[in-house]
Amino acid sequence: MSPRFGIRIPRARVVVLDVSGDLRADAREDMEAAYADAAAREPQAVVLNLTEVDYMDSSGIALLVGLLARARRDGRELSAYGLSDHYREIFTITRLSEFIHVYDDEPSAVGNVPAAT
């Protein structure tokens, strides 16, 4: 079975992870598989595309916390784009936005990753 969340590589050492549907506890395996897939490309940054996420709850936030912890251990930067105003607010409330930079769209998210050294 193919993973639910696909990955794309828009430029060197940057992987975009396309999340879709509900972001809740039951998305854990898909999320971990997609991150493992992304990590195998040894990216400097992982960008979460949340444009197609129409529902997120506290268990989804827990998934993002887990993902963030893992990315930090791996030394990869995590950012996101495509969040509605409501979920942007939730990122602020939970302070996730302090660790996951939220961009308006893909070009700004991908473009803001510093060039590899």
């Binding site: 506290s58 912890a69 105003d85 607010e89 302090e98």
Partner: protein, 518 residues
């Protein structure tokens, strides 16, 4: 010169109340020399032995109230006719006075006895009332009612509600044979024994078996306790019960009224008794009535008994006729008529499962209690307790609040908070049991939207998020990545209130409509 007075001799003579002498004296009602009494009874012999020569009966209203007994005349002559007339006059005046004195003494004695009895009744009432529940359990989706009406000579009725683990409710109704302080003390003992046993045992049959074994040791002779013990699961309507000789409860079903029968001997009578355990499920709209024998054994003016058939008919009457207990008491009062001296305690306990909610529409009373007076209910619905079930509630919430025209930010924030509350209710409150549902009520006032989310508190209520989530701690692995639910609710809506009751746990979310508290 007068001779010095000779000391008067006094003699103790006791007469048996059934000595024929007394009847004879009451009959002749005049002074009579002892040697002319035509009887030879122990009383007459006693008079002779005490050297009594003349007896003067004190008779009033044909009743012998005393006797003057005189020894021989000092002059050693017979008592003259004048003497006897004088004595008769004395007797005529003395007899009513003696009678009055006797009555006064009797009444003083009776007043003392009455006072003692009143005092005892007072103590018995105090003991009994000490052990009656102070308030009714608050069960979402149920209406619980109870009525206790003591007879003047306090009988031994009692009832009790017990909060049991897992949101279950124990219900007790019982009656101690005998009255007054001894009955009240046995009632108190039974109450304590049942409470102690019910806390440890789930099975009503086991509770009664253990209670019987303990009470056998404590019970005064010739006393016993009838008692019904039931355990209700408010979430499912399941009622398990065992009965130690109490009158059978009546259950109103769609098919008619049925008796809830389970066999067992009264408590405290015989050792090693077993109690049959039965179980029914109360469906929405059904009601069960527990009652003490003071109801069916009440007598009307013509000595007819109220009886079981009459009570059974009342239980089966359409619910539109008002509360069941009120209907029973109304009928009882018409049956016994005015000036009725209540013979025995009367105790009634009714458990009604409220009809299921269908969409919006009128709500059961207990769910609207917490809503402000001016709140309008916009919608009420239930979601099944399965993971992700909260997603189903959100379109219904959106539809219900749509006419209010809330700003989008406020609407989204409320939706997320309701989703969190519902998820907690499904996963923690109802432990994901598919037979249980979570009930949501959406209401509005002019200034705010209110949403209540109620679960069955199968794990005893309370909420899982106690520690304030801290992202740094979570990233460092010092806190679980989860635990955001209550925090999000508090951040996203203006007020979060939590209410716990027997068999239910409710979260109330309040969102002000213009975004700032009024």
């Amino acid at each position: 010169m007068q001779p010095p007075p000779v000391p008067v001799e006094q003699a103790e003579i006791s007469l048996s109340p059934d000595d024929p002498l007394l009847g004879y004296l009451a009959g002749i009602a005049e002074p009579v020399p002892v040697d002319r009494i035509p009887l030879d009874t122990p009383g007459v012999r006693a008079l002779r032995e005490a050297h009594i020569s003349l007896v003067v009966p004190l008779v009033t209203s044909g009743e012998l109230v005393g006797l003057l007994s005189l020894g021989p005349r000092r002059s050693e002559r017979e008592y003259s006719t004048d003497d006897r007339r004088l004595l008769q006059d004395l007797a005529t005046h003395a007899a009513p006075a003696v009678r009055v004195a006797q009555l006064v003494r009797e009444q003083e004695g009776e007043a003392l006895a009455r006072q003692r009895i009143e005092q005892e009744l007072h103590v018995a009432r105090l003991i009994q009332q000490q052990f009656l529940p102070k308030e009714l359990p608050d069960l979402p989706g149920w209406h619980v009612a109870a009525h206790y009406q003591p007879a003047r000579e306090v009988g031994g009725d009692f009832y009790d509600f017990l909060e049991l683990p897992g949101g279950l409710l124990g219900v007790v109704i019982g009656d101690v044979t005998d009255k007054g302080v001894p009955a009240a003390l046995v009632m108190a003992t039974t109450h304590s024994v049942l409470r102690a046993e019910a806390a440890q045992l789930v099975s009503p049959g086991d509770v009664l078996r253990r209670a019987n074994a303990l009470l056998i040791e404590e019970m005064p002779p010739h006393m016993f306790v009838t008692c019904l013990f039931a355990v209700l699961d408010p979430a499912t309507g399941r009622l398990r019960f065992a009965n130690a000789g109490q009158d059978l409860p009546y259950l109103r079903t769609a098919e008619g009224v049925v008796e809830l029968r389970a066999t067992g001997m009264p408590l405290g009578l015989l050792p090693d008794m077993e109690y049959e355990e039965k179980e029914v499920v109360l469906e929405p709209g059904q009601e069960v009535l527990l009652h003490s024998d003071g109801v069916v054994e009440a007598h009307g003016a013509d000595r007819e008994m109220f009886g079981f058939p009459r009570l059974k008919r009342l239980v089966g009457e359409p619910v539109t006729g008002g509360e069941l207990i009120d209907r029973v008491l109304g009928e009882l009062s018409r049956f016994t008529g005015p000036g009725w001296e209540q013979e025995d305690d009367i105790t009634l306990v009714a458990l009604a499962r409220l009809p299921a909610l269908a969409g919006s529409g009128p709500l059961p009373v207990d769910e609207t209690v917490s809503l402000p007076r001016d709140a309008r209910v916009l919608a009420a619905f239930e979601v099944v307790s399965e993971r992700g079930g909260e997603r189903g509630a959100l379109p219904l919430l959106a539809e219900a609040i749509e006419p209010l025209g809330l700003p989008k930010g406020r609407r989204d924030a409320l939706a997320t908070a309701v989703g969190e509350a519902t998820m907690n209710a499904i996963e923690h409150g109802n432990d994901c049991r598919p037979d249980l549902s979570v009930r949501l009520v959406v209401a509005a006032t002019d200034t705010a939207v209110l949403v209540t989310v109620t679960d069955r508190a199968v794990n005893g209520g309370g909420t899982e998020d106690v520690e304030l989530p801290d992202l740094d701690a979570k990233l460092a692995g010092a806190q679980s990545p989860r635990g955001w639910g209550l925090f999000l609710m508090r951040e996203l809506v203006d007020e979060v209130r939590v209410r716990d009751s027997v068999g239910g746990h409710t979260v109330e979310l309040v969102q002000h409509r213009n975004g700032t508290p009024p």
